[in-house]
């Protein structure tokens, strides 16, 4: 039988070369990873499939069958001024530390990302899709719209009524007399006492949950 040529040295050289090339090239940053994923997922943003109405988020907050997580990606100052009840402050740079947890979420889990408007939350959504692809949505209009709908009227608290949402710039447009955090009335409004809003439900679960239990 003809002896095969000894390819050990060329083989080892090829492996070394490929490894050295990889070390030089490096792995893509999160932004570049999103560029790779964008053809598959960007349509959800463009068609606004993942932007949920504040009324839908309020419904989810009161739905015991949903394992709801709210990630607030704003800075600490805005968070201290006002945030939703049960929200967690997770700035963009801390999202990678949530990867294992997000991957272990049950199938009835829904993650909603909130920021002052939609800009920062949309950036967080992209990063979350890169990291773990959870069932993640964005609060439409951000907390500025939320406070326009569920905030205390201007006549009750000076300068705290509805605010213009035109030309979003990432800032919290509502002004507070003091930092109330989740103690503000709008942090968890009573869904029975708030004005009813028509909206198109967009949240879909990875798996349908049974909404009735027990025998029969």
């Amino acid at each position: 039988m003809k002896r095969l040529p000894d390819l050990r040295v060329p083989g080892a050289a090829a492996l070394l070369l490929a490894a050295a090339g990889l070390a030089w090239h490096g792995q893509p940053a999160v932004e570049q990873q999103w560029e790779f994923l964008a053809p598959r997922y960007e349509s959800r943003l463009i068609e606004r499939q993942v932007y949920i109405d504040p009324a839908e988020l309020l419904y989810l907050m009161n739905d015991d069958y949903i394992d709801l997580l709210i990630f607030d990606v704003r800075d600490e100052s805005d968070w201290n001024q006002f945030h939703l009840a049960d929200a967690e402050r997770v700035p963009l740079d801390q999202l990678p530390s949530q990867r294992d947890r997000l991957r272990a979420l049950p199938e009835n889990a829904v993650l909603v990302v909130v920021s002052n408007d939609e800009m920062l939350a949309t950036e967080a959504w992209k990063r979350l899709m890169v990291l773990a692809k959870p069932n993640v949505y964005i609060l439409e209009g951000g907390l500025n719209l939320w406070l326009n709908i569920y905030g205390v009227p201007a006549e009750e608290v000076a300068g705290h009524g509805r605010t213009s949402l035109a030309q979003p710039n990432g800032r919290l447009r509502h002004r507070f007399k003091m930092a109330l955090g989740a103690r503000h009335a709008a942090a968890r409004p009573d869904e029975h006492l708030t004005p009813q809003r028509d909206y198109t439900p967009k949240v879909q679960l990875f798996k349908k949950v049974a909404r009735a239990g027990g025998c029969g």
């Binding site: 083989g11 070394l16 490929a18 490894a19 990889l22 490096g26 792995q27 598959r40």
Partner: protein
């Protein structure tokens, strides 16, 4: 972009056929590499035979290079690949038990299946023992639950441990593999004399 949903792309039967083809190729390579022979496998531990470490480590570094080059070029979504979370203490204990079992029995789980395919009796008994061990473990793991879940480090890989770029770690692992190949050959020649 990979990984692809095989069932969605090729249907259930199509995906099963692909899995069968991959399994066939894997078994073919293992058998043709001599991994169905327990004497060859255990000879590795005495430095008499180096093919196990060479084949396995070559497979590891080639797979590693393919995965991370594909990720770098946007052909593969690395975050979609399942990486086992690290449970340090049970991992160490399991490694020791597996190593002892490998030396005593002459097979690891995969190679015992390869040996059964060629109707080797020792492989069949090894497989029977393996199944019995799996059943025994499944029935008793509840008693060692605390240990079973100890040392939970989550997704913890070499780049996190070494605090280095992934590409640099891959380069180091390739260097380690090549140094190990050369070292083992030197050790073999030192113990058993120069091969002709």
């Amino acid at each position: 972009m990979a990984p692809y949903d095989m069932t969605a792309t090729f249907g259930t039967s199509g995906s099963y056929f692909i899995y069968l083809a991959i399994g066939f190729a894997f078994g073919f390579i293992l058998e043709s590499s001599g991994f169905g022979d327990s004497r060859r496998l255990t000879a590795q531990f005495y430095f008499r035979e180096l093919r196990v470490v060479k084949v396995m480590f070559t497979a590891i570094v080639v797979a590693m290079l393919l995965i991370f080059w594909s990720t770098a070029l946007g052909l593969l979504d690395y975050n979609e690949i399942w990486v086992n979370p690290t449970y340090l203490w049970p991992g160490i204990a399991g490694g020791i038990i597996m190593g002892i079992g490998f030396i005593l029995g002459g097979y690891c789980p995969g190679t015992s299946l390869v040996s059964v395919a060629t109707l080797k009796i020792d492989g069949m008994f090894f497989l029977l023992g393996l199944v019995a061990g799996v059943v025994l473990f499944g029935e008793t793991v509840g008693y060692i639950n605390a240990f079973w879940n100890s040392g939970d480090m989550g997704l913890f890989t070499l780049p996190e441990l070494l605090q280095l770029e992934t590409g640099v770690v891959v380069f180091l692992v390739v260097c380690l593999a090549l140094v190990m190949f050369i070292g083992f050959e030197w050790l073999h020649d030192f113990i058993y004399g120069k091969r002709r």
